[in-house]
């Protein structure tokens, strides 16, 4: 187990290093922050001074070395727009984004998994077809389209909810639903097929043959096995949720990480973008490690693989 954790940790650090390097190179290769931040009329000397001040005049590898040195010492640089520490700028947006993603994830799980299981248990019935039809619509419509439709329907035509911005709980309703529905649809489809796969296994028939009542066959024998496959998808979905947040925050002008990322990329606010990517990478890695640990709890076969038995 200790070896398993050590390997995971090393892999996590490597992933973060790759993300940081990639972001560093792409951002600097794709545009000049001085051009993006300063107005076109800025005199050439002022542009030079800006570059010197932010260290942009040095060769790329020197900049990279300086950056890595700073990151290792916990310094992620300052925002070029307001001079504040990039960590502070990003950190104050994290809870704002979590206000969207956490309820959206819960919505995913609470709708997607039960719907999929229900459809599998009622296989080929009208209820099954209906659930799957809704799911296909749910995951083919992109979240920004869904968001715009919701704004038109429930903010403009029927003025029930605000069309954007942050504030009371009313502001949360539309973006959370937009973000949650797509994932719920994906999860419903996967839960259904995972459940069908498990229901076709010989041990399900064997459990029935032993006299276990059907509801307990489902909860005690089928679900624990289907959960293993569903867990994999939940891991993927957390990644999708982060990507979806960027779009949904833009549509609903929600002042979270996603909006900050869009603004920072447009203005080449290097330190902030890099900091966001670091946070996202760390979040993804944490999710994956958590899921790996949960696998071990759900599946005794994996537990043994890790501890090196059989």
């Amino acid at each position: 187990m200790a070896r398993f954790i050590a390997v995971r940790l090393a892999r996590a650090l490597l992933t973060i290093a790759i993300v940081v390097t990639f972001a560093f190179v792409v951002l600097r290769a794709s545009g000049d922050p001085a051009r993006a931040l300063l107005s076109p009329e800025t005199p050439a000397e002022a542009v030079e001074a800006f570059r010197r001040a932010w260290g942009l005049d040095a060769p790329l590898w020197v900049q990279y070395a300086r950056y890595l040195f700073a990151v290792v010492h916990g310094d992620l640089g300052q925002s070029m727009r307001d001079g504040r520490s990039a960590i502070v700028v990003v950190a104050e947006r994290i809870p704002v984004t979590l206000m969207l993603t956490v309820p959206a994830l819960i919505l995913n799980l609470l709708i997607g998994i039960p719907a999929g299981i229900y459809a599998a248990l009622k296989r080929d019935s009208i209820a099954d077809r209906l659930v799957m039809m809704v799911a296909v619509v749910g995951f083919t419509v992109p979240s920004f389209v869904l968001g715009l439709v919701f704004v038109l329907a429930f903010a403009v035509e029927l003025p029930w909810f605000p069309s954007g911005g942050a504030g009371g709980w009313q502001h949360l309703v539309l973006p959370v639903i937009t973000l949650g529905l797509g994932g719920a649809a994906v999860l419903a489809r996967f839960s259904r097929s995972a459940m069908l796969e498990v229901l076709g296994q010989p041990y399900i028939r064997a459990a029935s043959a032993k006299g276990v009542p059907w509801p307990r066959v489902v909860t005690g024998h089928a679900l624990p096995n289907a959960a293993i496959a569903v867990l994999t998808i939940v891991g993927f979905m957390v990644g999708n949720l982060i990507a979806g947040t960027v779009l949904v925050e833009s549509v609903f002008s929600w002042p979270g990480i996603g909006s900050l990322l869009v603004v920072s990329v447009a203005s080449r606010d290097l330190a902030v973008v890099q900091c966001i990517l670091l946070v996202v990478a760390a979040a993804m890695i944490t999710t994956n490690v958590t899921i790996d640990l949960l696998y071990g709890m759900l599946d005794p076969r994996l537990r043994d693989l890790r501890s090196g038995r059989r």
Binding site: P202, S208, A209, K210, V212, P213, G220, P224
Partner: protein, 328 residues
Amino acid sequence: MEALLQIAGLRVAFGGVPTLRGIDLTLRRGESLGMVGESGCGKSVTWLAALGLLTGRAKITGSVRLAGEELLHAPASRLDKVRGGQIAMIFQDPASALNPVRTVSDQISEALRLHRSMDHRTAVAEARRLLDQVGIPDAARRLGAYPHELSGGQNQRVMIAMALAGQPDILIADEPTTALDVTIQAQILELLRQIQRETDMALVLISHDLGVVSEVCERVVVLYGGHIVEELPACRLFDQPAHPYTRGLLAALPSLDAPRQRLFAIPGVVPNAAELPPGCPFAPRCDRRIGRCSEWAIELAPLDGDIRHRAACLHVTSEPPAGEVAAA
């Protein structure tokens, strides 16, 4: 002796395609019955249908009476008591018939709690005793094991322990040794035979292995195309098979001591269940078929007045058909 279980006119069809075409079978307390036939002949389906273990898409008609009580289309709550409690079943591939994420103890004690209303502690102690009984060494330590930590043979022993947990009157063993090594096969069969002797439980052994069946069972039924084509005492299986299909099966066994010769195979293939002819299902592949074979359904009839040996073939029962002419 009164029949423990009586199956009459059992028919099963999947999506309109008949798989069982009227099975009549009785089982007496404590007897051992072998069921042989090729894949798809209906050996397993008979029992899955009897226990209500087929999906809703299967259309089942006929009658299955356990001690006089009709089981077909009985309410689920009643069937849950019968399954495991009166009729237990073990399956071909023990590794996949055990739940991979639950311990051996957990899976055996589940049956004990269901059928013998034991509390957790008593159930675990009894599970240990059952593992001992089916010959798993170091049973106490094996209780906490998961199926993937055990060998195929040990898993089948666990399945048998699980089946014994409900103290059933009938144990259906559906190809219990097919997935196992030959040496393990013999041990498992010996275990089944020993348990049957000790508990006075009826044993139904489903197999395509004629040797296995004749060794373990007293009585054998041979199935073909969803029909029982022959029923005979096991001791006669190798000496006096009557139905051309049973003879074909025996002829297809390679002999160890006879001089080397080409292996005999029954000509043709098992016909698709949807395309079986009216009349004798074996007629298209039979070298003794005559015109009448394909015309009407042929019933099981005693041979030479011996009701223990019956076959469904015009040629071997009652008086041989007059003017026998092999059809081209």
